[in-house]
């Protein structure tokens, strides 16, 4: 059988938890410039189910963690995103987008208002470009700290809170999209109630030197097992969450991508972000194409690159993510379709590997989100 090649000109770098992953039996692959665990011994399906039923620990230290500080930081970030940063309360985080002059998406990210500045988490593959972009756009009195000495771990699943509460008492008081400083195994950690799986969960930023101790302590909890990139991808696909570089890129706009919620109402009126005109036009007239969910008929997955055809067999769109949904037990996909074909229930044809598949446009998420909006006050 055929096996895929990996061609990287620069040898991948190594995560703080590299040795730990290997000791845990991970299969490592290059991703975003790092060797990363794609799965451990249980395999992707088991790790996916573990996350939906209990809790999984993901190493997401490849992602860029940035601290933006200095006077005028909020305004500076508003100049490069369509978000309301000035109105973002302390200890709250928000999903945001870095936009190009034509309204295309340069990256998606999380922005948290902390006491020491604005804490950004950007995609690993775009980290270098994002830093360069921000450094160019932010004035010189704004400090951009790359936080190179920090690791980022994500604990996700309905049992995540129970497990983490034992190590960080009080973390259960956080509600979805809020964060705080906690002492974790004697180290200062920043914990937010957020994630990329659709489940309840937490993202933990801490000094890289403490990452292994934390990973061991979390995996010692009965609810927790490690999970890799393979499960991370199948989970986010079920959750309808886009992946930058696949479902989002510089040629997609927030409105096309179904991310209008990331454009703050005040910003729609006042503008002042890149691509204001294009976005205003799409908000008022509707975009020509939309990101849609696709329920594929049959059992064979239809993956990124497949073409979406209209009733005449003409190519009118494409699939940007696709795979097998362990929760639904069937293939699902995400892609772009003309607005006229974007209504849930619309049947479309997909062309891949010399075959035609039938699919039905579906609302996302495919698997309902189970965020815990309100923390436990006790």
């Amino acid at each position: 059988m055929s096996q895929s090649d990996n061609e990287d000109d620069i040898p991948p770098a190594v995560l703080p938890l590299d040795g730990w992953h290997r000791a845990m039996g991970a299969r490592m692959v290059p991703f975003a410039g790092y060797m990363m665990p794609v799965q451990y011994a249980p395999g992707i399906l088991a790790e996916h189910r573990q996350t939906r039923e209990a809790a999984s620990l993901f190493d997401v230290s490849h992602m860029g963690q940035l601290l933006v500080s200095g006077e005028g930081s909020a305004g500076a970030l508003e100049a490069v995103t369509p978000s309301d940063i000035a109105g973002l309360a302390q200890d709250r985080l928000r999903y945001s987008l870095l936009l190009s002059a034509t309204g295309g998406i340069l990256d998606d990210l999380m922005i948290t208002h902390r006491r020491d500045g604005f804490y950004l988490v950007v995609n690993g593959a775009t980290r270098i470009d994002d830093i360069a972009h921000l450094r160019e756009e932010l004035s010189d009195d704004i400090t951009l700290n790359h936080m190179d000495d920090h690791a980022l771990l994500a604990l996700q699943g309905p049992q995540a809170m129970a497990a983490l509460e034992r190590l960080a008492p009080g973390v259960g008081r956080l509600g979805f999209m809020t964060a705080g400083a906690f002492e974790l195994l004697g180290s200062a950690a920043w914990i937010s109630r957020s994630g990329y799986t659709g489940e309840d969960g937490f993202e933990i930023s801490l000094p890289a030197s403490h990452a292994e101790a934390l990973a061991d302590a979390l995996c010692a909890q009965p609810e927790v097992a490690p999970a890799g990139l393979g499960a991370r991808d199948s989970l986010r696909l079920e959750a309808g969450l886009p992946l930058y570089g696949h479902d989002l890129d510089e040629d997609t706009t927030p409105v096309e991508a179904g991310l209008s919620f990331a454009i703050a109402r005040r910003r729609r009126q006042d503008g002042g972000f890149p691509g204001t005109e294009r976005i205003a036009f799409e908000l008022s007239e509707g975009p020509a194409r939309r990101r849609v969910g696709l329920l594929v008929e049959g059992r064979q997955p239809v993956r990124e690159g497949a073409l979406l055809l209209d009733i005449e067999g003409d190519e009118v769109g494409h699939v940007t993510s696709g795979g097998f949904s362990p929760t639904l037990g069937r293939p699902i996909a995400m892609g772009y379709a003309p607005a006229t074909l974007a209504e849930p229930g619309t049947r479309v044809s997909l062309a891949a590997r010399g075959k035609i598949f039938t699919a039905e446009v579906a609302a996302m998420p495919f698997v309902p989100h189970r965020y815990v909006r309100q923390g436990d006050p006790s």
């Binding site: 059988m1 055929s2 992707i44 399906l45 997955p301 993956r303 097998f324 293939p331 590997r353």
Partner: protein, 123 residues
């Protein structure tokens, strides 16, 4: 009955002019969880070294090549409902297809068990 292997990680059990084909335990471990198998059609002609089936894991699709030339005589219908058999029993219940050999001389080009194990050890 003789067991042969290919460098593409297929196994072949040959009984007279009938060959049963599957993928090896090494291959299924590399693939990860199998979610779908596209089998050839009974009556199809296959040529040695050409794609005969497709196995889809969670992450990607991989081609399964025909180790020998011939006509497909049987396919493993059990894989339709239980593609995971490829992982749990790759060299038994997870077989893919059977073919009638058109050129038994092609057997000379296959590896025996010892040669295949030696090959896998180099990977």
């Amino acid at each position: 009955m003789t067991l042969y292997f290919t460098r593409d990680h297929e196994w072949v059990r040959v009984d007279g002019e009938i060959a049963t084909v599957g993928i090896t335990d090494y291959a299924q471990g590399q693939l990860g969880d199998v979610v779908f198998v596209e089998l050839p059609v009974i009556g199809d002609s296959v040529a040695a070294g050409k794609e005969a089936a497709v196995v889809e894991s969670v992450k990607a699709a991989s081609d399964v090549f025909a180790p020998l030339s011939g006509e497909i005589t049987k396919v493993n219908e059990a894989l339709v409902d239980e593609p995971g058999l490829v992982n749990s029993a790759p060299e038994a219940a997870g077989w893919f297809f059977q073919l009638q050999l058109s050129d038994p001389r092609e057997l000379d080009g296959l590896l025996d068990s010892a040669a295949y194990q030696a090959f896998v050890a180099t990977l």
